[in-house]
């Protein structure tokens, strides 16, 4: 983050919520509080968020909604809305649901001319559906609410030539199927610190305005599910572990991700100061999806808040997700993704099993630690790119797909990129220890492996044993490279780089509470040296953790824990102390603080017991 951004953040923190804003907020409809998390903090934060967004000057539906609902700059908001409904070049899935969310929240304060223009928007411009899961959620949410708002109209009144009834039916069918798929086999674009916000935001709008009580209940259950999915990976505002998709800026600085705005609003973390820092991240100016949360009546169930905040004891949490639709060069369309997370009070170590699980923006593993400084993470990757990989997921031509992707994502073919899915990378995690193996083909475009080590670490020392020991506050990270490497001094990090194609690393994470002093941690590492070798030409690491677990992992081979094969296929949709679900059962059980909440997507029921509020 630039110094200017910190400066702006400090200035903004001094602002207080004005009485007018508080008055406006009091007038907003609120839902019953039963089983909801403590709403006092939430109400304060949503007031702060609306206060901030209503001061924005960039034309955006979120800004317009905040201005109109708080009564700030109403004439400007109406002019913004007019402009955004006149420019026919605009349109698409982001536009569709945010326009409807803004319209339905604010329609009572709009002049007739804007009612007409907003209706016309769904006739004269293409609301493009897009090509990813989040696109479809936004598109069909927008179309569902638009068709509900303007029912029984002929196809000539809609951009796609389909009648209101047809559009409503399409949207209802897709949303119903998506909810069931997510509740039974997991999301495809799972746990994204960027995109989870645009799954949650449409569901907030759908929950608020779906007239059909069944769809409203479905939206509520999806919100519960999505928030619980975030909560279990959440640590002080950080979205920890492996991600299907993330941008390099957020991977190397987790609290800069858009989801920080979500966790701050709903969980109260990170601190307001860190939220203020994050919200001035230049990349996200104008992306205020959570305005719909601040304006809406959905309230986070208490059990989910507890899951997000209870970090008294370490825990292991397992998940199954699914790969985005593989359209060619695969055996199945949606193979499973297995996630492993070890959460401790001050850090989290999380991983996906490796391989190509998502195109372009995969983040396979990291350790994230609580810190007051940015760049609070360490991870490695192989910077893979290929047209064939992209063609697994996109229908365009192999030869120019990589170039096309580079136009949008800028770094896809870069050897220095910080996000990547690679067929040459696999992981094996046991609690706070991790083995990462690399078996890079000699013909691969990038013949190296990189690691991110932030300069905000308090210490980074290389012991004679070969372990690289790092300390950030009271969190300790041990990193053992199997092969030769070099350090590259960069602006915010030391880039660890190894050019060995048959390679591997071992990671151990600890803390002052678990290991005592840093020197004690280093000493424990020094007594346990990983053994690297090749088995039938493939990398293999044998390692006994400092806790005494014996790990043996061969690339493309079994993961052996204390001599027994680990069955990743047994993870279930969720398995851990807080969140549990058998794969394909459709029943999600959340447990924390003596509260148990069960979502049954087969019967669309929510049951809860044990709430003390």
């Amino acid at each position: 983050m630039k110094k200017d951004d910190f400066g702006s953040a400090r200035r903004m923190r001094r602002r207080s919520v004005t009485p007018a804003i508080l008055f406006a907020l009091a007038a907003l409809s609120l839902s019953p509080r039963a089983h909801a998390a403590d709403s006092t903090g939430f109400d304060v934060r949503r007031g702060q968020m609306l206060d901030v967004v209503s001061r924005e000057s960039d034309p955006a539906f979120f800004t317009i909604a905040a201005k109109l609902k708080t009564g700030r700059d109403v004439p400007l908001a109406l002019r913004m809305l007019d402009s955004m409904t006149v420019d026919n070049a605009m349109g698409g899935m982001f536009y569709a649901y945010t326009l409807m969310g803004t319209y339905l929240h604010c329609r009572s304060s709009l002049p007739d001319s804007l009612h007409r223009k907003i209706r016309q928007a769904f006739k004269v411009r293409t609301m493009y559906r897009g090509d990813t899961e989040n696109h479809f959620v936004m598109y069909y949410t927008g179309m569902y609410l638009a068709a509900q708002t303007w029912p029984h109209e002929e196809g000539t009144q809609w951009f796609n030539g389909r009648s209101s009834d047809e559009n409503f039916h399409d949207a209802e069918q897709w949303l119903r199927r998506w909810a069931m798929t997510t509740a039974t086999t997991g999301q495809g674009e799972f746990d994204s610190p960027t995109y989870m916000a645009v799954f949650i935001s449409p569901m907030l709008v759908l929950y608020e305005f779906a007239a059909d009580p069944v769809m409203k209940r479905r939206a509520q259950m999806m919100l519960d599910l999505l928030f619980a999915d975030v909560a279990v990976d959440h640590l002080k505002g950080n979205y920890c572990g492996g991600h299907s998709r993330d941008y390099p800026e957020d991977i190397i600085n987790p609290l800069g991700a858009p989801m920080t705005r979500v966790t701050w609003l709903y969980f109260g973390e990170p601190s307001e100061a860190r939220w203020n820092d994050a919200r001035f991240h230049p990349r996200y100016r104008g992306s205020w999806e959570m305005v719909f949360g601040a304006l809406g009546s959905y309230r986070l169930p208490e059990v989910i808040e507890r899951i997000a905040l209870d970090r008294q004891a370490p825990y292991v949490h397992l998940e199954t997700k699914r790969v985005r639709n593989i359209i060619r060069f695969g055996d199945t369309t949606n193979p499973p993704v297995y996630k492993y997370l070890y959460m401790a009070p001050g850090y989290a170590l999380g991983s996906l099993q490796g391989g190509i699980l998502q195109p372009i923006q995969q983040h396979t593993w990291d350790v994230t630690f609580v810190s007051e400084r940015p760049n609070n993470t360490i991870f490695t990757l192989h910077p893979f790119s290929s047209g064939r990989e992209l063609a697994m997921f996109f229908p365009e031509e192999i030869k120019f797909l990589a170039g096309e992707v580079d136009r949008y994502h800028k770094v896809y073919t870069s050897p220095e990129k910080w996000n990547s899915s690679s067929p040459y990378e696999q992981t094996f995690q046991r609690k706070n220890a991790l083995i990462v193996l690399y078996n890079v083909d000699s013909a691969a475009v990038q013949g190296h492996v990189d690691g991110f080590f932030p300069k905000t670490l308090d210490e980074r020392v290389t012991d004679p044993s070969g372990w690289i020991a790092c300390r950030s506050g009271s969190t300790y990270v041990g990193f053992f490279p199997a092969k030769e490497y070099e350090w590259i001094d960069e602006e915010i990090d030391w880039r660890w780089r190894s050019h060995e194609l048959k390679n591997g690393v071992v990671v151990e994470v600890g803390s002052e509470a678990e290991d005592g002093t840093f020197s004690g941690f280093r000493g424990a590492l020094g007594r346990s040296i990983p053994r690297f070798g090749l088995s039938k030409g493939k990398p293999q690491i044998q390692y006994t953790t400092r806790r005494g677990d014996r790990l043996l992992f061969t690339f493309d081979g079994d993961r052996l824990l204390n001599g027994r094969k680990v069955d990743v296929a047994s993870y279930g949709l969720f398995r851990g102390p807080f969140l549990n679900s058998r794969l394909r059962s459709g029943i999600i059980t959340m447990t924390a603080g003596g509260i148990t909440r069960v979502l049954d997507f087969n019967r669309l029921t929510i049951t809860e017991r044990g709430s003390d509020r």
Partner: protein
């Protein structure tokens, strides 16, 4: 539609009016009409168009101005056309479904529902307007009720990505599907499919010779061209374009000139029914040619649709070329329709 073609259709002789992607073989015989061009994405602006963005563009013959015929933000892959002498229908295969226009492209209706994702190609049955085939990344889809419902038709296909569908020139129940593994053929209107053992994979382009029905040529990713002269019983390599990546074919009306192009190939021509190929044009700075068009009334008049550089035109059988608009566009298919 002209009288002769209507007579042919009534007699049960079916010409492949429409095929998916860029492999159309015989556009309607007409001295007039409009060029229809599907543009997938645009780098920068589209010069010469009435409005920016991507989608379907048209140009009246003799004119130089391209006009967008769809709303903005339509990722257009392919084109289709139905004309039984009484009814004309225009189809667009797009990222958000199969679009149909019954008024010459003024208004469009999406026929497919949430069940289908990108549509890579659309092939209407030339006789029964209710029957339409769609090539998609998740298989062949077919409607028999004019788009109200669609059914996935993949019995016998061991993969699911369908790059193109081509309808046989003589038998509308016979179709060819280009997949990542092989060329598949159905002889029962999509109910069952069989691999043809072409030896070309992943397959990207298919051509049935316009005058010799048993001659089929296929091209693929780094696999050059393969050709059969006995309706698929045997296949062999051709001379030229070894290991090339080929995206498209086009034939002159009588088949005396066959053209193909792809990734860093430039334009190639065959004058012996595809047995051998010679390079006609090697444009500088243009990596990919994705679509071709040969005017049915004048085989010397050729259009080349590029990836990122719009359309180029030759009126002397490829000897000289000039830029013809739609700069920046990925030109997926070019057709001439009334």
């Amino acid at each position: 539609m002209n009288r002769s073609l209507a007579v042919l259709l009534q007699a049960g002789v079916f010409l492949a009016l429409v095929v998916t992607g860029a492999d159309a073989q015989l556009p309607p015989s007409s001295g007039a009409g409009r060029l229809f061009v599907s543009v997938f994405l645009v780098r920068g602006s589209v010069a010469g168009s009435a409005a920016g963005g991507y989608g379907l563009f048209t140009q009246t013959l003799g004119d130089t101005v391209w006009t967008r015929a769809t709303k903005s933000n339509v990722l257009a892959f392919g084109l289709g056309y139905f004309d039984n002498g009484l009814t004309r229908r225009y189809y667009l295969a797009a990222g958000n479904g199969v679009h149909r226009s019954t008024d010459g492209g003024k208004n469009w209706r999406i026929l497919t529902s949430w069940r289908t994702e990108e549509i890579l190609g659309v092939v209407p049955d030339p006789v029964d307007s209710a029957v339409i085939y769609a090539a998609t990344p998740l298989g062949v889809f077919k409607t028999t009720d004019d788009g109200d419902t669609w059914e996935r038709k993949m019995n016998g296909v061991s993969t699911w990505f369908i790059q193109r569908i081509v309808m046989d020139r003589r038998d509308r129940r016979t179709l060819y599907a280009a997949t990542e593994k092989d060329l598949y053929r159905t002889t029962d209107a999509g109910e069952t499919w069989s691999p043809m053992g072409s030896g070309c994979a992943p397959m990207l382009a298919v051509l049935q010779h316009p005058a010799m029905d048993s001659v089929i040529i296929v091209g693929g990713e780094d696999s050059g061209l393969r050709r059969t002269t006995d309706g698929g019983k045997t296949w062999s390599a051709v001379r030229g374009l070894e290991k090339a990546t080929v995206y498209t074919f086009r034939a002159s009306r009588d088949g005396s000139d066959l053209y193909t192009a792809g990734w860093k190939t430039g334009l190639w021509r065959s004058t012996d029914a595809g047995a051998s190929w010679q390079q006609v044009w090697a444009p500088e700075g243009i990596d990919a040619v994705y679509s071709l068009f040969v005017y049915p009334e004048d085989a010397r008049h050729i259009l080349v649709g590029t990836v990122g550089h719009g359309i180029y035109e030759s009126t002397d059988r490829g000897a000289t070329w000039h830029y013809a608009g739609l700069n920046g566009g990925q030109v997926k298919q070019i057709e001439l329709y009334p």
